[in-house]
């Protein structure tokens, strides 16, 4: 403990020192060059995927994960749980990291004209690994099982737009009225609102099909030994806190069969799981590993020349949540002043050792159609302009601004740097405190909350709408009045009718390009004009991958290895 604290203070000291230096250098050339030209040099470059190789059966792929909350699809949620669930179950469709939808059990998906009804045509003759048919009824069974009140699933909300959801959640109905499975080869879904991207919701775990043996969500046998229709099946039940073993499902029918004979998933403790994965990769125990930030540079230097290093920008954003309805940050100029007073480049270099990329938009680069680099005009370092904006918005030197972050997740250093910069550049009095994540959440939710909070968002579905709607729409606040607790993800309570209208219009627009265009307009308003939240770093993920032994080893949308296509070389 003492050692890590000492280490942290050393990092902090170094960071502060390099920030000061970088700050000086930056200030001297602010007048001549904009922020954009310097940003290309920050952040580890993304790596290109290695060329595909022909698959051949065989091999055991080994990796470590933290103990998942669940591997049963009704409640699988974090990346670890989804790794297992997606290997065991194939839903209606699947996605590529950029949001391209590819067939799963469904080979055709068609919305009606206003996107309130969807028809999914299912591949015929596919089965669960126990021989039960995967038909429309299997999907309806799975969806209902996830959504009913007694399941108490954390992730049932993915199906929240489907008619009958509210009744099931309230416990007043047992039948999912919006899901029609009368034709075994076609699943018909009725929504309560228009959503031309509903198909993306069907990639989530609770939308998986389940066989009749699944029973209810509290069936302990099935929870630990799920029987699915995916490329892999369980080899014995989940050994809690030890591991999970998967073997190839030779009766897989929804797509090409897996090459690997088996996958050995060892469970590592969550406190230092990524360090253990790195150690395991280096001692030959694992073929895939995450890394803690302090070893990134060293592992990159050792593994990038061997093509064992994967670096990808993924669908996520790190940002500052701003309480936009309350002084002193209730004016757009005040928020822009905060944003322009933060030297993202210097922090990226000093604290993150160059591993993080400053964000200039909320919607990440992985969505090529909707990505607008630079839409956040205030996402640059310009202390002079920041001072002007602050003065015009009444954010005078000496104003108190609350800044909270959650402890124990490596946010100590960079938040301290942000605090320092706000005090130096704007003369603010920053009330800075670290609290456990649950308290941070509670504090943000209160109607009396003010100031800024450290926040991050990872997409549930690969679409720009999954960033804009939950984080900035009025519905995303989840509070009936300004005096209620904000139950949604828009805890900064940004609300702009024009923005909401654009999002509603986008949801009802079947054409992808036209929809992306509406998303761009919406982001321009909420981020470019109003700065409803302050984007900081684009999410970027790094992995060590044993490409010497395995081919077709890539990272999927859920930031997991593409188990279904990995093959021995």
């Amino acid at each position: 403990m003492t050692r890590s604290r000492a280490g942290r203070s050393a990092v902090l000291l170094l960071a502060t020192a390099s920030l000061t230096l970088a700050g000086c250098a930056q200030q001297s050339n602010t007048g001549t060059s904009g922020g954009d030209s310097t940003q290309a040099s920050v952040g580890y470059p993304e790596t290109a995927d290695l060329p595909d190789v022909a698959g051949k059966p065989g091999g055991t792929f080994r990796l470590g994960i933290n103990e998942p909350t669940a591997i049963d699809p009704y409640n699988a949620q974090e990346s670890e749980g989804l790794l297992v669930t997606k290997a065991l179950f194939t839903g209606l469709v699947d996605v590529k990291p950029d949001g391209t939808v590819i067939p799963g059990v469904a080979d055709k998906w068609t919305p009606n004209a206003d996107c309130t009804q969807w028809a999914f045509d299912l591949k015929q003759g596919t089965t669960f690994s126990n021989g039960e048919p995967v038909d429309a009824a299997a999907f309806k069974r799975g969806w209902t099982r996830s959504v009913v009140k007694t399941a108490a699933s954390d992730v049932a909300y993915h199906l929240g737009e489907v008619k009958g959801f509210d009744e099931l959640q309230a416990g007043t109905a047992q039948d999912f009225t919006g899901v029609d499975a009368t034709n075994p080869n076609q699943l018909k879904v009725t929504l309560t609102k228009a959503d031309c991207e509903f198909v993306l919701h069907t990639i989530t775990a609770p939308a998986s099909p389940v066989p009749t043996v699944a029973g209810a969500a509290d069936n302990k046998t099935f929870n630990d030994l799920p029987i699915g229709n995916g490329p892999f099946k369980m080899d014995g039940p989940w050994q809690h806190d030890k591991g999970i073993k998967l073997v190839r499902n030779d009766t897989y029918g929804a797509g090409p069969k897996a090459n690997l004979d088996s996958v050995e998933i060892t469970i590592t403790p969550s406190a230092n799981g990524s360090q253990i994965e790195t150690d395991g990769f280096n001692n030959g125990t694992f073929d895939w590993a995450r890394m803690p930030v302090p070893v990134l540079a060293q592992e990159r230097a050792a593994n990038e020349p061997k093509n064992q290093w994967i670096s990808k920008k993924t669908a996520g954003i790190n940002y500052l949540l701003v309480e936009v309805t309350k002084a002193p940050l209730d004016k757009a100029d005040a928020r822009k002043a905060i944003s322009e007073a933060i030297d993202r480049n210097a922090i990226a270099q000093g604290v993150f050792q160059g591993s993080q990329v400053p964000a200039t938009a909320l919607v990440p680069a992985s969505f090529k159609g909707a990505y607008q680099p630079g839409v956040c005009t205030a996402c640059k370092y310009d202390p002079a302009d920041a001072k002007k904006l602050a003065a015009s918005a009444g954010l005078t030197p000496g104003t108190t601004v609350t800044f909270q972050f959650n402890t124990g997740s490596g946010h100590e250093e960079w938040t301290a740097a942000v605090k320092q910069q706000l005090e130096t550049n704007l003369g603010l009095k920053v009330t800075y405190s670290g609290v456990p994540f649950k308290d941070l959440l509670k504090n943000e939710q209160q109607p009396t909350a003010t100031g800024i909070y450290r926040a991050a968002w990872g997409a549930d579905y690969p679409t720009a709408g999954n960033f804009l709607a939950p984080l900035l729409s009025t519905a995303g606040i989840g509070a009936a009045t300004a005096n209620d607790v904000a139950q949604g993800d828009n805890r900064g309570r940004y609300s702009n009718p024009q923005f909401d209208q654009l999002l509603a219009k986008a949801a009802a627009t079947p054409d992808q390009a036209a929809r992306d265009d509406l998303y761009k307009q919406a982001e321009k308003i909420a981020i470019g004009d109003d700065l409803g939240l302050i984007p900081l770093w684009a999410r970027q993920q790094f992995r060590l991958a044993n490409t010497a032994k395995f081919g077709n080893l890539k990272m999927d949308f859920f930031e997991n290895p593409t188990l279904g296509s990995i093959t021995l070389k």
């Binding site: 403990m1 003492t2 050692r3 080994r62 470590g64 103990e67 909350t69 669940a70 949620q77 974090e78 009140k149 007694t150 108490a152 699933s153 954390d154 992730v155 049932a156 909300y157 959640q169 309230a170 509290d218 050994q239 809690h240 806190d241 030890k242 591991g243 073993k245 050995e264 998933i265 060892t266 469970i267 590592t268 403790p269 969550s270 406190a271 253990i276 994965e277 150690d279 395991g280 001692n283 125990t285 694992f286 456990p436 994540f437 649950k438 308290d439 959440l441 509670k442 939710q445 926040a455 991050a456 968002w457 990872g458 989840g478 139950q487 949604g488 993800d489 805890r491």
Partner: protein, 310 residues
């Protein structure tokens, strides 16, 4: 004697009750376990359903009474993350912790006693200085330093299993227990060596040792049979208490070696704010410690009548 045991047992139960109450209250400081899922807020209806499922919808005093009732029936409740019975988790990890504790105690007694005896018998020799210096060193080194050094440099070599290793690699318990056992033992062994050296030196000056020598007994018999046996008394006391602590789980060592004992269970539960496990492990640790000191006290009372009269 019976009255003494009763009195001590009543005290032990009181300690257990107070510890249970305190840890029960303390875990509520951890906050609501169902308010967030990862970094996302959980809808209020789901939060309410989860609270009802785990009985958190009732007032805290009521929850405590229910918990005590369940505890008397050996039911530690279900954990927040996977809804597994906590008693099963304990049952799976306690044998590992006990094995580790016993191995550690054996290692520390062998090393500690041997080093102490040598240092005392060969007083002021090179061996004495060596023992004094190394024990000082080991007493000063925190246990995690030794653990991390061993994991980084020794695990994976020869009979010592790799850390981490794939869960499918089966390692016999006596191999798995070697390095963590040694890590736990080394610091206590240094203490024991010092205790042993001190008491041995005292005993060697005693009259009966001179008598023994005067009788013409061999030096080996004098040291081994007469001096050592009496010098062991403080060591036995120390080992008893140390065993009580080790039975409760060695959090740092088990975590470093990813050894599946109650200490590792506790450290993971703390990270996940998994209150039912935290409460159960704490109660178990307090229970073993209280039980061990109860046994030691009773043994003392049996040996020394003055104690039970007070």
């Amino acid at each position: 004697m019976g009255k003494f045991i009763l009195r001590r047992a009543a005290q032990a139960i009181l300690v257990l009750f107070v510890a249970t109450l305190l840890i029960f209250i303390a875990t509520f400081v951890l906050g609501d376990p169902f308010s967030s899922s990862g970094e996302k807020a959980v809808p209020p209806a789901i939060q309410a359903a989860n609270r009802a499922k785990f009985g958190l919808d009732k007032p805290v005093p009521v929850q405590f009474v229910i918990y005590l009732g369940n505890l008397l029936r050996g039911d530690f409740g279900i954990d927040f993350n996977q809804s597994r019975p906590v008693s099963e988790l304990l049952a799976a990890t306690i044998p590992n912790t006990l094995r580790l504790a016993i191995v550690a105690i054996l290692i520390e007694i062998v090393i500690g006693v041997a080093a102490g005896v040598i240092a005392a018998v060969k007083r002021y020799s090179f061996w004495d200085v060596l023992v004094t210096v190394t024990t000082t060193l080991f007493i000063g080194i925190p246990v995690f330093v030794i653990g991390i050094l061993l994991v980084a440099n020794v695990s994976g070599i020869g009979p010592f299993p790799a850390v981490p290793r794939s869960f499918t690699v089966v390692v016999p318990w006596y191999q798995e227990v070697l390095l963590p056992g040694f890590t736990l033992a080394i610091i206590d062994a240094a203490f024991i060596a010092r205790l042993m050296r001190g008491s041995m030196l005292e005993v060697l000056r005693a009259d009966y040792i001179r008598t023994a020598r005067a009788k013409g007994l061999s030096e080996r018999t004098v040291i081994g049979k007469h001096a050592m046996r009496n010098s062991l008394i403080p060591v036995v006391t120390y080992t008893g208490i140390s065993l009580g602590a080790l039975f409760g789980g060695a959090i740092i060592t088990e975590t470093i070696f990813q050894y599946n004992g109650v200490g590792y269970l506790l450290s993971r539960a703390i990270v996940n704010s998994n209150a039912p496990i935290i409460i159960a492990v704490v109660i178990f640790s307090v229970f073993t410690y209280v039980l061990m000191s109860l046994i030691v006290d009773i043994l003392y009372a049996y040996l020394d009548p003055r104690i039970r009269l007070n």
